[in-house]
């Protein structure tokens, strides 16, 4: 049960972040004032990939809520962080981001730090 929930969290998180990044790149730089946040809400409702991304986040969120009831937060948080690996790969090969040595090294350091925080 623990691992099934974890798999749901990772897959839906990766999908949500990938689609969000893809859509937000196309949307131009958004502002974060009160009006900017309302604008972001409207933007979310008008793009189907964003709606799907939010649905994935909701799935991930409910799976996470269920997971932290049967496992400690110190397991749930770092275990779901493996999505970082898949997302960095997608960013490089599908979103064509410049993922060089420094970004790869940084992402791996963050990941190993998160794993150490688990125990």
């Amino acid at each position: 049960m623990k691992w099934a929930l974890l798999a749901i969290i990772v897959v839906s998180t990766v999908l949500a972040d990938f689609l969000q990044s893809y859509e937000m790149k196309r949307s131009g730089e958004q502002s974060v004032g009160a009006r900017g946040l309302v604008r972001l809400l409207r933007l979310t409702l008008s793009r189907r990939y964003l709606i799907f991304a939010i649905a994935c986040m909701a799935l991930s969120f409910f799976a996470f809520m269920a997971l932290i009831q049967i496992a400690p937060l110190s397991f749930a948080v770092p275990a779901s962080a493996v999505s970082l690996v898949f997302e960095t790969l997608l960013a490089k090969f599908v979103l064509n981001e410049a993922v060089g040595k420094r970004r790869t090294a940084g992402a791996l350091l963050v990941l190993s730090g998160v794993v150490l925080l688990a125990r």
Partner: protein, 161 residues
């Protein structure tokens, strides 16, 4: 996914070759602002998750797959505050993604894991070991290294009005 990749390629080709020179034209032109936004994203997530975990631990019932259980959980004030903070987190994170690369945003916001662990220790009495310090150090080092890279691979299109 293949369609997405092709579309992305088209978008990249169509993007203007250089950003506007002045710093005031868009929020994402400044790296400092990008870091400040990332900090806000981290705070909303950590405090939101804490409220949520706090509320869930004090509900006293297992959720399982029953939707009614989730509706009851949302009515708990602590859970509701957590959900509100996580909505703010979602919106600010979307703005961050409109300013910076996915492979930049993720490791930099990874500092949030440290905050989550510290909050978990303080408020939820979860077990902590000395390894946490090494983990914390690695996360900060990784985020700092990624922070030295340029936050946008391609300049973003003008903001639609």
């Amino acid at each position: 996914m293949t369609d997405l990749a092709e579309e992305t390629g088209v978008v990249c080709v169509a993007a203007p070759p250089e950003e506007p020179a002045t710093g005031s034209t868009g929020p994402g032109t400044s790296k400092l602002k990008t870091f400040l936004l990332a900090f806000a994203v981290i705070l909303f997530n950590a405090v939101g998750n804490l409220c949520l975990a706090w509320g869930m631990k004090h509900l006293g019932e297992l959720m399982g797959w029953n939707p009614l259980g989730y509706i009851r959980a949302i009515l708990n004030p602590s859970v509701a505050a957590g959900v509100a903070l996580l909505i703010l987190w979602l919106l600010t994170r979307m703005a961050l993604m409109s300013w910076a690369d996915l492979s930049f945003s993720l490791p930099v916001t990874g500092v949030g894991y440290v905050l989550a662990a510290v909050l978990g220790k303080l408020f939820l009495n979860e077990a902590v070991s000395p390894k946490h310090w090494v983990g914390t150090l690695l996360i900060f080092a990784g985020a700092a290294i990624v922070g030295t890279t340029t936050h946008q691979t391609e300049p973003r299109p003008e903001l639609e009005r």
